[in-house]
């Protein structure tokens, strides 16, 4: 139990506002047509996350630390700036998710967003990383609401199982874009930084590493099971009835007449939980590793004066993340989509750094990647790079 947590939390934060939106849209637009991708995506996710967990345990350093120490200050600077931008768009997306979910329950975003932002801020003033982790582990349980929604939608289980293993592919532009979206949202760059930092923070020892390994594997599987149920719930109802939706909020509302209002309520509750959860973790972890990379004082036990960069970054991320949502007519959907695109563009760079580091004997000793592992990881990265290039290309040519 002392080792469990980082993997499961990271993987669950992954199902954030952007993730739920993407999966809902995938189900609503393509039915069960994307289910087969979940198994290879899960394998890739496990491989990537496991490398970081292993690096954290063996080197005792976070990913930002290692990049700084091995590649110098310039590489660190560019990676951190890119990550900061990606995580800012992600944070905006999380607050957008909070607003959307609570509007379903009739709460105006002008109330929900300031309250949510303050709540997240409160965590840093009164919480410690470890106590907060317990809250997060409990928050992970609420993802069950999506599984229940999936069952309440009464999908044809036989077909679901078949479509999970029988690949189906289409060269249609929208299909490709959605495929990329699903991959991009599932394997997000901040996850590797967060997971490795959390493993280091927990002080996991090599002798306990297999528990961390299980933590990562279970977390990745659970994430994709939740993704599966979101897709299935939307496919069984919205796709079957040819209802077009634009966002996770639409999906939740549209579920009500087809699968019952409890189903819709659970769906919306899940979105709220996921968004708030991610809105707490993203800014905090971002502030942590950016400061660590640059050697600035970190830690929520400090006073503002002692760690100005840390508190400044954290505050700026929350403030910007929430303020944009309050602008009337702010394009929430576009931002959620943009955040996934930015994740996708950044991911290959982060993966290359990870692979270069994890194969260095002077850092990893005998825990460098095995040959099979390298083949899987490099080809996974290569596919993700290709998909990212394709995504950027499709965006430039056809607007996604």
């Amino acid at each position: 139990m002392a080792v469990v947590g980082p993997g499961i939390i990271t993987a669950n934060v992954d199902n954030d506002a952007g993730g739920i939106t993407t999966y809902s849209l995938a189900g609503a637009q393509f039915g069960y047509g994307l289910l087969w991708t979940l198994i290879p995506i899960t394998v890739a996710l496990i491989v990537v996350q496991e490398m970081c967990a292993r690096m954290g345990v063996v080197t005792g350093k976070g990913l930002a630390d290692l990049i700084r120490e091995q590649f110098g200050v310039k590489a660190t600077f560019y990676v951190m700036v890119a990550l900061l931008f990606a995580n800012l768009t992600n944070t905006i997306a999380e607050f957008a998710g909070v607003a959307a979910a609570l509007e379903i329950f009739g709460v105006s975003k002008y109330v929900s967003i300031p309250v949510a932002a303050l709540l997240v801020w409160w965590l840093i003033v009164y919480g410690t990383y470890r106590r907060v982790e317990k809250v997060f582990l409990v928050a992970c349980l609420f993802y069950v609401s999506y599984i229940i929604s999936g069952f309440m939608a009464r999908p044809p289980w036989g077909e679901v199982l078949t479509r999970m293993v029988v690949p189906e592919f289409s060269w249609r532009g929208e299909y490709l874009a959605m495929l990329i979206g699903v991959v991009g949202t599932t394997i997000a760059p901040w996850m590797q930084f967060y997971l490795q930092a959390a493993v280091v923070e927990k002080g996991v020892k090599l002798s306990n590493y297999r528990y961390s390994y299980y933590d990562v594997v279970v977390g990745c599987i659970v994430t994709d099971v939740v993704a599966l149920f979101i897709i299935v719930a939307c496919a069984a109802t919205l796709y079957t009835h040819h209802i077009s939706v634009q966002s996770a909020q639409d999906a939740a509302l549209a579920l009500a007449p087809l699968a019952g209002k409890y189903c819709a309520g659970l769906f919306a509750f899940g979105l709220f939980n996921a968004s708030l959860f991610a809105a707490s973790i993203l800014p905090l972890s971002t502030a942590y590793y950016v400061c660590e990379g640059f050697g600035w004082e970190t830690g929520i036990d400090n006073k503002f004066r002692d760690a100005p960069q840390f508190f400044g970054l954290y505050t700026a991320l929350i403030l910007l993340g929430s303020v944009f949502i309050l602008i009337p007519g702010f394009p929430l959907l576009a931002v959620m989509y943009l955040s996934q695109v930015v994740n996708g563009i950044l991911l290959p760079f982060v993966l290359i750094f990870i692979l270069l580091l994890v194969n260095r004997t002077d850092l990893m000793g005998k825990y460098v990647n095995s040959r099979t592992y390298n083949i899987v990881a490099w080809s996974a990265s290569a596919i993700m790079i290709l998909l990212t290039v394709a995504m950027v290309g499709s965006l430039l040519i056809g607007g996604g």
Partner: protein, 448 residues
Amino acid sequence: MTTPDRLPTNDMQGVVAEEGHSFVFFSALLNKPVCDSQGAWVGQLTDVAVSVAYMFPPVVSFVVQRGRWEPFALTGRWSDVVDIEGAAIRLGVPIHALKPSKMDAPGEILIREALLDKQIVDTSGAKVVRVNDLHFLKLGRCELRLIHVDVGTRGLVRRMGWESALDGLLRRVAPRAHYLSAERLIRWQYVQPLSLDPKAHNIRLSVLQRQLKELHPADIAEILTDLDTHDRATMFRSLDPETAADALAEVEDPRIQTQLIETVSQEHAADILEEMPPDEAADLLSELPQETSTALLHKMEIDEAQDVRELLTYAPDTAGGMMTTEFVALPAELTVEDTFAHLRSAAPDIENIYYLFVVDADRRLVGVLNLRHLIMAVPQAQLSEIMIRNPARVHHTDSRDTVAEIVEKYDLLALPVVDDNDVIVGMITVDDVVSHIANQAWKRKLGH
């Protein structure tokens, strides 16, 4: 730029007074082209080695990389360098004089590999910082001595290559900006490197470790907490048992405590545990896996292990679990004079001697004294005449709350703990109670 008053004293005094010295940042040398005596291009400077045997380590050799993708490096002696000012670093020897290897001599460190971008301990500020640049004093034409480590934002900006641009901009828009005047340079003597080549470890730590020893144990504990797990282990291993024990007792996070004690050999761990107050040692051992704590208890000196074992039998959230077995208990018939003599011999091993407990022949608690009582009394008086009878006490099964309540109510600095027969078995000092009281206060404040 650094002002002369920051300059080192001691072995540098004579040289500093000479004409023609100036300062060079490592970032200005890094990646500079290198030419040999014929003017032929050799490669780019990628590292320099300094000899840490000196208080202000001189640069003794350099490493040149032939090309970005070429793996092999050339090493040369710094004394062969004739010019570092020009567009290229010029050598006084032909290219064949360089050795095709990366230098790895004992007592020398490659500063880029071991220091640049790494975490170090600033022992003057007692904290962990990251090295952004290194600062040399230049003597004569080419002799370089490492004097400062730059940990400031300016160093970061300089490494990015933006220093002159940013300086120019700031001078124009905000000439009084703190950034322009603030340098965060740490003198080399106050630097404790951590991520070092394991081969040469001992040399460096023995050179610099005395700085670490002069820090307050609470500072060492904080530094340990701030480090990553590997550097934490390296630094902890380098501490002598006494310093390690003091620092370990100050580490607040039990997870880090157990992690630290598990990074040293069992013999070393046992030595450290012996140096700790028994209650702290018992707390720590109770967090460890059963086999580890049993093994450590076996390795400890019998007396110390006995005290700890006894404490381990009490439940952690009772008075027994909070107490220490290090206390002074004296027979009621003892005179003040003899008591002083006794204290003089016993005090070095006992943490708290301000409270003295008076016991009868069966070690039952009958009274208490503090040092003030003792000092005010006539030397021939017996303890039974000056002690306070029937003092406050707790049973070893009493809860933490009860302990906190009694300590608070009677304003005690130490509270005796007794067993079923009223025999004194331990003492709880106020510092062990304070954290509990503080937690209670917090809970009340938060409405739990």
